[in-house]
């Protein structure tokens, strides 16, 4: 019997645009909120992990210094869009193994430092030098998905409409205004068929969680949420013809996560999945088994994945509306799931949710579906 791990404190700041703020300005309030939530003091925490992609050298130390929390080990974790969730997994593994008992994990990124445009990708990758940008990669998946399954751009736009509808009552979401299929389709073209409203916004943000060994959970204030599965995969390299409508790395990771938790798709009440672009959410319904292959737009249209449906997907608004400050995203997803499982989400609450899932995947790399995929399944 391995040692169980619980989440006993969570916090985040509203994701948005804070161009004048430092990473510490952004992250300290999120960490303080998680500490207050747990009723934890700095001395309660054995180690810290910081997930960030663009925070620069020693981001974790730069932030924690301001809280007087340096001294113990701080590990900075970079894994593209999965940086924050990979940091959570590192804490989980360490506690499970008995290397330490308690850990603070936070994720932070500040994309306004780039002044707008698409996410800067690594130019050592030949496809990036050849003109690849993240929206184009997802756009080509979308084109092929629509072509193979006979759907239209309005089926993609419906994802953005649902996302905004969910985010409307989320004070932590960057975009909270309702929208329509017509408005989504007439927003600025980015990489066809994807328009501006079908792409996650540029923004800044931070989120924090506190993980402890199950036997210590009683020392902290809130009812613990248990980690039922924690999985990380890197994509398989495939230089030949690949089915891009099949989210290989997510399918692989989901299978491992379900196996680890002893659960299946029907057990998931609420999920925060990596909807960086509209097409992604549809592909991931299929990857997680929330619907059959080729049926995702129908599941969405039938309300199966909306609040009140069979599985509430992205009640926070997901990356499309809550926002996607890279390193903060994976932690922010887990924060939302913890709140959902505690029943603290007000209007955006998935009623009676007992099991939740968080999924962050990303990193554009030639020959790989994605560079990293990290999934957590949580239960109360």
């Amino acid at each position: 019997m391995t040692r169980g791990v619980s989440l006993v404190g969570v916090g985040m700041i509203p994701f948005g645009r804070y161009p004048e703020a430092t990473h510490a300005d952004i992250a300290v309030p999120a960490i303080s909120a998680a500490m207050d939530d747990a009723g934890a003091r700095p001395t309660d925490l054995d180690v810290a992990f910081c997930g960030t992609s663009f925070g620069g050298m020693l981001t974790g130390q730069r932030v924690l210094r301001e809280l007087g929390m340096t001294g113990p080990p701080i590990t900075n974790v970079e894994n593209a869009c999965s940086s924050g969730s990979t940091a959570i997994r590192q804490a989980y593994l360490g506690i499970q193994a008995g290397a330490f008992d308690t850990a603070l994990v936070f994720g932070v990124d500040k994309l306004t430092q780039f002044g707008g445009g698409t996410l800067p990708l690594e130019v050592e990758d030949h496809e990036v030098r050849g003109g690849m940008v993240m929206p184009a990669l997802y756009a080509m998946r979308a084109q092929r998905y629509l072509y193979e399954h006979g759907y239209g751009p309005e089926d993609l736009a419906a994802v953005a409409v649902k996302s905004r509808e969910h985010a409307r009552s989320n004070p932590y979401a960057q975009l909270r205004k309702r929208t329509t299929v017509g408005e989504v389709l007439s927003s600025r073209p980015i990489a066809d068929p994807l328009t501006l409203f079908q792409c996650c916004p540029t923004g800044d943000g931070a989120a924090a969680v506190i993980l402890v060994a199950d036997e210590l959970a009683g020392r902290f204030t809130p009812p613990p949420v248990h980690v039922l599965a924690s999985v990380l995969e890197s994509g398989r390299y495939e230089p030949g013809h690949r089915d891009m409508t099949r989210a290989e790395i997510t399918i692989q990771s989901a299978e491992l996560a379900y196996e680890q938790a002893g659960l299946g798709p029907d057990d998931i009440d609420v999920a925060e999945i990596h909807d960086a672009f509209t097409i992604a959410e549809l592909m991931y319904y299929e990857a997680f088994g929330f619907c059959d292959v080729g049926e995702a737009p129908k599941a969405l249209a039938a309300g199966e994945t909306s609040l009140g449906g069979r599985v509430a997907v992205n009640p926070s608004g997901g990356l499309l509306s809550r926002g996607h400050p890279i390193g903060a995203t994976g932690v922010g997803q887990v924060v939302e799931i913890v709140w959902q499982l505690r029943g603290e989400c007000g209007e955006r609450q998935a009623e009676g949710a007992r099991i939740g899932l968080a999924h962050a995947t990303g990193g554009g790399l030639a020959g790989l579906d994605h560079g990293a995929c990290c999934i957590h399944i949580l239960g109360r």
Partner: protein, 115 residues
């Protein structure tokens, strides 16, 4: 010592035909693009330069409207010998359309719909 840092040009032109310069593993016959010195499949370290097919089929494509070079069309092209490559499209090309490599521009292979 680092690995040899020289790479062949993206495209080799012979008799007016533009053949992408890929890699082929002499041990397991894996082909890929662009040329990489080591084989990711069988981990043998000596890949040979291999002239890949100059024609193929568009797997997917998208016109990019952002960035300094916009607008431009990108496509994933499935070459006739089993390798997929990212290319810039001259003109237009539908999914399933037959295309031919016609040039390389900087770090991009350029394709055009077969007449």
């Amino acid at each position: 010592m680092v690995r040899a840092t020289t790479r062949p040009a993206l495209v080799f032109v012979v008799d007016g035909e533009h053949r992408p310069n890929g890699g082929r593993c002499p041990a397991c016959d894996l082909r890929l693009f662009p040329f990489t010195p080591s084989c990711p499949s069988c981990t043998k370290t000596t890949m040979e330069v291999c002239r890949l097919a100059s024609t193929g089929e568009v797997y997917s494509r998208s016109t990019v409207h952002v960035g300094a070079a916009a607008p431009y069309m990108l496509a994933y092209v499935d070459l006739d010998d089993g390798v997929r490559l990212l290319a810039k499209v001259r003109g237009d090309a539908p999914i399933g359309g037959r295309v031919r490599v016609v040039a390389s521009e900087g770090d991009a292979v350029v394709v055009e719909v077969l007449a």
